[in-house]
């Protein structure tokens, strides 16, 4: 079982920071409605923002530490999750297509996301934070094993 590329943490941290900034604006706006003095209101909002942002940043580390993927003989295994831990197994020969996507942050960091699709919409086989060459190699390896059988 392999970990993700450690650079993905930077991607997640930036995403978390962006979310925190958005939440901060909402919280400051909501604080204006509280029936306290201005100092108390801002104090509460700032405290919540700091705690929330710190918690999100801490979660990034945890999330990374629990992310594993591996190619077994017949199945692709993904394991992840901090609160809800999840392990999914997707047989290669059920693969209908393999998508590789790259957002702007990922492009900057040199990462790619690989997603496998089967005939079920509930198949959850998407690996974020792969080094871009790793992602291409993985795609080739998966498609090699996917073989020639009809998947449905």
């Amino acid at each position: 079982m392999l970990p993700l590329d450690s650079r993905v943490q930077r991607q997640w941290r930036i995403e978390a920071a962006g979310f925190s900034a958005f939440a901060a604006i909402v919280l400051l706006g909501a604080a204006a409605l509280l029936p306290f003095g201005i100092a108390v209101r801002v104090g509460i909002a700032v405290a919540l923002i700091i705690v929330g942002a710190a918690a999100l940043q801490y979660l990034v580390g945890l999330r990374y530490r629990y992310w594993r993927y591996g190619l077994a003989e017949d199945v692709l295994i993904l394991q992840r999750g901090v609160w809800t831990r999840r392990r999914s197994m997707t047989p290669y020969f059920r693969v209908q297509n393999v998508d590789i996507t790259q957002g702007p942050l990922e492009r900057w960091l040199g990462l790619k996301r690989l997603t496998i699709r089967t005939a079920s919409a509930f198949t959850d086989a998407s690996i974020p934070g792969l080094d871009k060459t790793d992602a291409e190699n993985l795609r080739v390896r998966i498609l090699e094993r996917a073989g020639q059988d009809a998947a449905v």
Partner: protein, 532 residues
């Protein structure tokens, strides 16, 4: 993505002689739909716009202007429908359906018969008046490919398309088709009983009792004051009876004369009084059967059966048999799932799952009543916590029903509190499998298994299994999905393979490590270095 159209060869035995080709692919003329189609389609679209005109009328628009607008809209719709009709044609090239459509952007869809999941023929009342039918061709895939709808063609043409697409599915060179045979006919009494009991208005007396109990809160006098004295009870009874009869009639009309016809190698489901439906049900494509026992079903001694195949997401209730008498259930499942053994004993789930089940059912009561209490602060509100008793009872029953089982062919998953539902999934139709467990579940050594199958069923969830068992079963399912027929397991050796550190989801299994999920050490810290 029709990337898998290499499949037709699979249907023939490899050493079979070259197919005698019953219908050689000769150039055929492109065919248009029935000339009535633009009119039918325009009427349907126009009929959806009536609220606009109603609103205009209410707001004081002049009836003449509105009528003119209506006429204009109708003629535009008709013109559009007519253009679309002119730009839509199809032909059968051998057993391949080719459809060209699109007014500006032309699309040509080629559908080889072996990619067809299901052919549905709908005859709504308006279709039957005109002697036409709507043909719906469902194509395999994960919702990426839409169904092809031929709306509408003449009835004999619908039959020709159905036969052609269907014949191709039969192994070429097989014996001539056996005559059709009615395999199951919905008994009228069972349908009527089920329809009457399952109509929501059956709950009317219960609702009346609740209202009566809350008598003080609801001002009945005001609600019924406009009726002459003494007639209120009559009014309620008659209205209730009429409603009951109406709801029953709707159910009966919808599933009227439902029957399963065994054709040569297929099943065909037919039903409906006003809208008559005919569905080809290729039984080799059925991936799961869902059996439902509702309170109504229990009272009428029937079960509801749904056969799920892999289609691009048409109406999943299409292959639904609502009221199968209990006595007929085994033989029907045998028909829908030929050569599939579904006899497996269903085992209940571990005792800790009971706690979660009761909690799941009582939690909403606690939440809602709690909020109401905080909001109203009235003294009688805590009495509402009595709802915890039935909720808890349902939670206990849900745990008793909860269970799963397996044999070589299928996995069975049973759940439900009020309506029990058992799903039988063919193991060789499993697309992927996963296991998940949240912190609470891990503390109790429980896990939820999810079996992913092709759309539209999508997935089957087995809640709160023993964690180790869940991981082992999910792994086996994913690894054995390959075997072409259930029962033969070419990859026996894989069971000896490392069960993928099954303990990760079952902390109870590696030595009382129920405190190990705080992030101090990751799932397999021995194999990788962390935090460099």
């Amino acid at each position: 993505m029709s990337g898998f159209s290499s499949a037709p060869a699979k249907m023939l035995p490899s050493d079979a002689p070259p197919p005698p080709v019953p219908a050689p692919p000769q150039p055929v003329d492109w065919q248009r739909l029935h000339p009535a189609s633009p009119f039918l389609n325009a009427i349907i679209i126009a009929s959806r716009a009536w609220p606009v005109f109603l609103v205009a009328l209410i707001n004081g628009g002049s009836p003449l202007v509105i009528a003119a607008l209506l006429l204009l809209a109708a003629s535009v719709m008709l013109a559009l429908a007519f253009v679309r009709y002119l730009r839509f044609d199809y032909r059968l090239e051998g057993t391949t359906l080719v459809v060209r459509s699109g007014v500006f952007v032309r699309t040509t869809r080629t559908i080889p018969a072996d990619r067809v999941q299901q052919v549905t023929r709908n005859e709504k009342l308006r279709h039957r008046l005109l002697g036409v039918a709507e043909v719906l061709v469902e194509v395999a895939g994960a919702g990426t490919e839409p169904d092809v709808s031929l709306s509408v063609v003449a009835q004999h043409e619908a039959e020709r398309i159905r036969v052609r697409l269907h014949d191709a599915r039969r192994a070429v060179g097989a014996a001539p088709p056996a005559p059709d045979r009615i395999a199951f006919e919905q008994p009228n009494d069972a349908l009527l009983r089920w329809a009457a009991i399952s109509s929501p208005l059956f709950m009317l007396p219960a609702a009346g009792a609740v209202i009566g109990a809350l008598g003080d809160a609801v001002d009945i006098e005001r609600a019924w004051g406009w009726l002459p004295d003494g007639s209120q009870l009559w009014f309620i009874s008659v209205a209730g009876l009429l409603g009951l009869a109406g709801a029953t009639a709707i159910n009966v009309i919808r599933f009227y004369e439902l029957r399963l016809v065994q054709t040569d190698d297929n099943l065909r489901l037919e039903y409906g009084l006003l809208t008559h439906r005919r569905l080809e049900l290729p039984t080799d494509r059925v991936q799961a059967i869902v059996t439902k026992r509702s309170p109504a079903g229990r009272l009428s001694r029937t079960v509801g059966l749904t056969a799920h195949n892999a289609s691009s997401g048409g109406d999943a209730t299409n292959s639904y048999l609502p009221a199968v008498p209990l006595t007929e259930q085994p033989s029907l499942i045998g028909l829908l799932f030929p050569n599939v053994d579904i006899s497996a004993s269903i085992e209940g789930h571990p005792r800790p799952a009971l706690r979660r089940s009761v909690f799941r059912w009582t939690r909403p009561v606690v939440l809602i009543v709690g909020i109401v209490w905080i909001a109203l602060r009235t003294s009688w509100v805590p009495l509402l916590f009595l709802w915890l008793l039935p909720a808890g009872a349902l939670g206990i029953r849900a745990w008793r029903v909860l269970g799963h089982g397996e044999n070589d062919d299928v996995v069975l998953a049973r759940r439900g509190a009020i309506t029990d539902q058992t799903v039988a999934v063919r193991k060789d139709r499993v697309q992927s499998a996963s296991v998940y467990a949240n912190w609470f579940q891990r503390r109790l050594s429980l896990a939820t298994m999810q079996i992913e199958v092709a759309q539209p069923l999508g997935r089957v969830v087995v809640r709160d299994m023993d964690a180790t068992e869940a991981v082992v079963l999910a792994t086996t399912l994913a690894e054995q999905a390959r075997s072409e027929r259930p029962g033969d397991q070419p990859n026996k050796h894989q069971e000896q393979q490392d069960p993928l550190e099954a303990g990760d989801l079952a902390p109870g299994d590696h030595g009382g490590g129920s405190q190990d999920h705080r992030g101090e050490h990751p799932p397999d810290s021995h194999s990788v270095e962390i935090g460099e």
